[in-house]
Assembly symmetry: C2
Homo-oligomer: 414 residues x 2
C-alpha cells in the first residue's frame, strides 16, 4: 500500500478549488448530447396514426396504455403484452404506486401493509437511494443485504424470506445494478425465482432500469425471471419495471410494469380511481420512433458511443492512481449509469473535500438504507453528467480528495 | 301535464332499436374533430426551445413543472406562478394524490386522515362520479349537499363545516358544473372563501375543469377564490385543479394544481418521493402551442364552434317534447360538457330503455354519492361524444324512453 503526501494532496486540492469550477455529479442524468438522439421523435408527430382498433390515443381510454406500447415493452422484457401496462414518465412512479397500493389497500387478498404492524423490505446494498426513500416514506423497515459480483447474498435472502412473514419485499436492480454495475448471475436469478416466501404478499421489485443500457456491443445477458416463475406458485411474486428515461427523454418518456394477470388486476382496480389514462400520444410517438426491442438497441448504441469514453476515463484515472491501493476499489461496469467507488472509511470526508473544490457527489451513505454506510466507504460516481473536460476536472478533484483523506486517516492510525 | 301513449312510445322505441345502431354517451369525451384542433402542436416540436435558465425540459428535474407551464396555468387561474405546479395528464390524478397524501401522511400538521376515525367530505350533487369514487376508495364518508342554480346549499355547508371537525373536504366544480352546468354565484364563492371550518385540515377541492370551456363568446364569470382567501386565515383552504384534457388531448395534456405556498410545500414533500418529474417535453409543447390564457381562449372558440350545435340539438329536442312536462327538467348550460336531465322517479328505467335501443348513458345514480339518487331522477347527457347524426338518433331514443317510462309510471299511479 503506497502512502500519499498529506501536504501534496492538500496543495493539489487547493489548486483545483482555486479554478472556481463547479460540476454536479449527484444524479445519473443523461448528458444533452444523449437527449439530442431522440429529437427526431418530436418531428412529424402530427401525421402519426393515433387511431387503432376502436381507440384514439388522443382521447380518454386505455388505462393500461395503447396496445402498441404494451407490445413494445413486452418485446423488451420478453413477456406477453397482456402482462404489461405502460404509464407515464418514470418507473419510480410505478414502484411508488405499487408500494402505496399494498400499503393502503392490501394485495393478494391480504390485509393492507399499514395494518400488519412492523413490515420490512430486503435492501441489497449498496443500492438505489430512491428505492430506500420509498421505504422511509411508508415507514417500512429496511434490512440491508450484502451484494457481491453475482447479486445479493442469496443465503441470507432465502433464510429471511422463508422465516419471516413480515418481510414484504425486496428491491433489485438486476442488470448493471445501481450503483455497483453488476449483472445478477443465472444462479442468483434462479434462486430468487425459487424463493419460498412466508408472506403471501411478498413481492420482488425487479427494477430493470438498465435492461438495454449496455456500454459495449456484446450486451450482457440476464435471465428472464418471468420465464422461470410463470406457471409456478411464484407467478405473482415479481413486479418488473422499466422506462425509456435513459433511452429517449429523462422523465418525459414512458414507463412500464410487467407482472402476472392477477397482480395487474389488483393494481388496475386502484389505478382506475387514480388515473383516467396515461399520456397515450406520447406512447404512440415513442412506438413510432423506437418500433421494437431491436429499434431500442439501435438507439442505445448511440448512447453507448457517447457514454463509453466517460466511463473509460473514470476507470483510467482510478487505475493510474489507485491500482495498488487496498483501500480504494471501484467497479468496472459494462453498462448502466454508475461507477461504484469504495474508499475504506473515508467516503464522507472524500465527498466533503470534493465539494470544497466544486465537485458535488451524491452524499456519502446515500446508497445504503437510512443513509448509513456501516464502513463509510461507498461513493456513487455518475460519469454521464459532465462533459469529458468537466469529468477530467472532477476526477482530478476526486483523486486529490481521496489521497488527502487517506493520508489523514493513515496519519491518525500511525 | 300531458300524457304519453304507452303503446305509441313502446312502438317508437322498438322501431329505433330495430335500426341496430349503437351510441355510447357515458363519458364527457371530446369528439375527434375537436382533437384535430391541437394536432399542429405535434409538428415541428423537435425545433422548440427545451432549455431554460439552467434547466433542460428533456432531462430530469423541475418536480413542479417547467417555469413556462406554471406561468401558463397561473395566467389561466389568475394566481402567481409560485402557487402553481404542473404535472401530467389529468387533474383527477392530482386530486387523488392530494387525498392520498392527506389520508396516508396527514396535512397541515394534523394526523393522517386514516388515523382520525370516521371522516367525511361534503358532496354537492348531482356531481362528478369520479370525485365520489375517490372518497369510496379511501372509505371517506360522503354527505350529499343539494345544488341549485347558484351552487351548493351554503346554509348547510356553513353549518356542517363549522360544527364538525370530521368533515375534511368538499368537492366543487365551480364553473359549468358537472353535470348541472351552473356557475357558482359571487355570493356562493364568497361564502365558501369565508367558511369557518372546525378542522384545520379541511380542504375545498376546487375542480375548475371547465374554467375556459364556454360554449358562447360571452364567457361566464366566476369569482377568483384565491383573490378572496390569500392573506386571510383561509389561505390554505383551497386546492384548485385544472387540465388541458378538453383543450388539447384528453388524458395526454398537462394538469395543474394551484394552492398556497404551505400546501405546495406539504404536497411536494411527498411528491418528490413518488415522482422524479412530470413530462416536461409535453409541457414545453403545450406552452408553445397555447402560449397564454388568451391563446387558450382562441383554441376554446374552435371547440365551442363544434360543440354548440350538439348542445343546441339536445335542448331543441327536449324543448319540443317536454316543454310543458313537470316531470322532465333539464339544464341549459352555457359551457362545460354536460346537460343534466331530471326525469322524476324514472331515471333508472329511462337509462335501461335507452340501452335496449343501443344508446348507453352513464348509469342512473352515478351523479350521486354511492350511486344513490334519492329521487331516481338524474341522467347526465354528454352531447360531445357522438356525431350530430348519432346524437339525433340518441335523442330520439331518449325521448321515446322517457315517454315510455313516464307513461308506465302514470299508469301505475292512476
Amino acid at each position: 500500500m503506497s502512502g500519499y503526501s498529506l501536504e501534496e494532496a492538500k496543495k493539489q486540492l487547493k489548486g483545483l478549488a482555486a479554478l472556481g469550477k463547479s460540476v454536479d455529479m449527484t444524479r445519473g442524468r443523461p448528458f444533452r448530447d444523449q437527449l439530442d438522439i431522440s429529437l427526431p421523435m418530436l418531428d412529424g408527430a402530427a401525421s402519426l396514426q393515433y387511431t387503432y382498433d376502436g381507440g384514439d390515443a388522443r382521447n380518454y381510454g386505455d388505462l393500461m396504455g395503447v396496445p402498441a406500447a404494451r407490445a413494445l415493452f413486452a418485446d423488451i422484457f420478453g413477456v406477453s403484452p397482456q402482462n404489461v401496462l405502460v404509464l407515464d414518465g418514470s418507473s419510480l412512479a410505478i414502484m411508488y404506486k405499487l408500494v402505496a397500493t399494498a400499503y393502503t389497500f392490501g394485495i393478494a387478498g391480504c390485509a393492507p401493509w399499514s395494518k400488519q404492524g412492523k413490515i420490512s423490505f430486503l435492501c441489497p446494498c449498496p443500492g438505489y437511494d430512491r428505492h430506500f426513500a420509498i421505504c422511509e416514506e411508508f415507514g417500512i423497515n429496511m434490512i440491508p443485504v450484502a451484494m457481491d459480483e453475482n447479486g445479493p447474498d442469496m443465503d441470507t435472502v432465502e433464510r429471511l424470506v422463508r422465516a419471516d412473514e413480515s418481510i414484504k419485499g425486496m428491491w433489485c436492480v438486476p442488470k448493471y445494478s445501481n450503483p455497483t454495475g453488476i449483472v445478477y448471475s443465472d444462479e442468483t436469478v434462479k434462486r430468487i425465482a425459487a424463493l419460498k416466501p412466508a408472506a403471501k404478499d411478498f413481492r420482488v421489485i425487479w427494477d430493470n432500469a438498465y435492461i438495454v443500457h449496455s456500454l459495449y456491443d456484446d450486451d450482457d445477458r440476464l435471465l428472464n425471471i418471468f420465464d422461470l416463475i410463470m406457471g409456478t406458485p411464484n407467478e405473482d411474486m415479481v413486479y418488473e419495471v422499466g422506462s425509456t428515461s435513459k433511452i429517449t427523454f429523462a422523465g418525459s418518456g414512458i414507463a412500464a410494469l410487467a407482472s402476472s394477470a392477477a397482480n395487474l388486476k389488483d393494481f388496475t382496480a386502484h389505478l382506475k380511481i387514480a388515473l383516467i389514462n396515461p399520456n397515450k400520444v406520447n406512447q404512440v410517438m415513442h412506438v413510432s420512433f423506437l418500433k421494437d426491442a431491436q429499434g431500442v438497441r439501435e438507439v442505445m448504441k448511440k448512447h453507448a458511443a457517447l457514454l463509453r469514453p466517460k466511463f473509460e476515463l473514470v476507470d483510467a484515472v482510478l487505475e493510474k492512481n489507485f491500482a495498488n491501493d487496498e483501500d480504494v476499489k471501484w467497479s468496472k461496469p459494462r453498462g448502466g449509469y454508475f461507477v461504484s467507488l469504495d474508499v475504506r472509511g473515508v467516503a464522507g470526508q472524500v465527498v466533503a473535500y470534493a465539494l470544497s473544490a466544486g465537485v458535488k457527489f451524491t452524499a456519502a451513505g446515500s446508497t445504503y438504507p437510512y443513509h448509513m454506510d456501516p464502513s463509510d466507504s461507498n461513493i456513487r460516481i455518475a460519469p454521464s453528467v459532465p462533459t469529458l473536460d468537466e469529468l477530467d476536472f472532477a476526477m482530478r478533484v476526486l483523486v486529490a480528495s481521496i489521497k488527502l483523506a487517506l493520508a489523514e486517516k493513515r496519519a491518525r492510525e500511525e
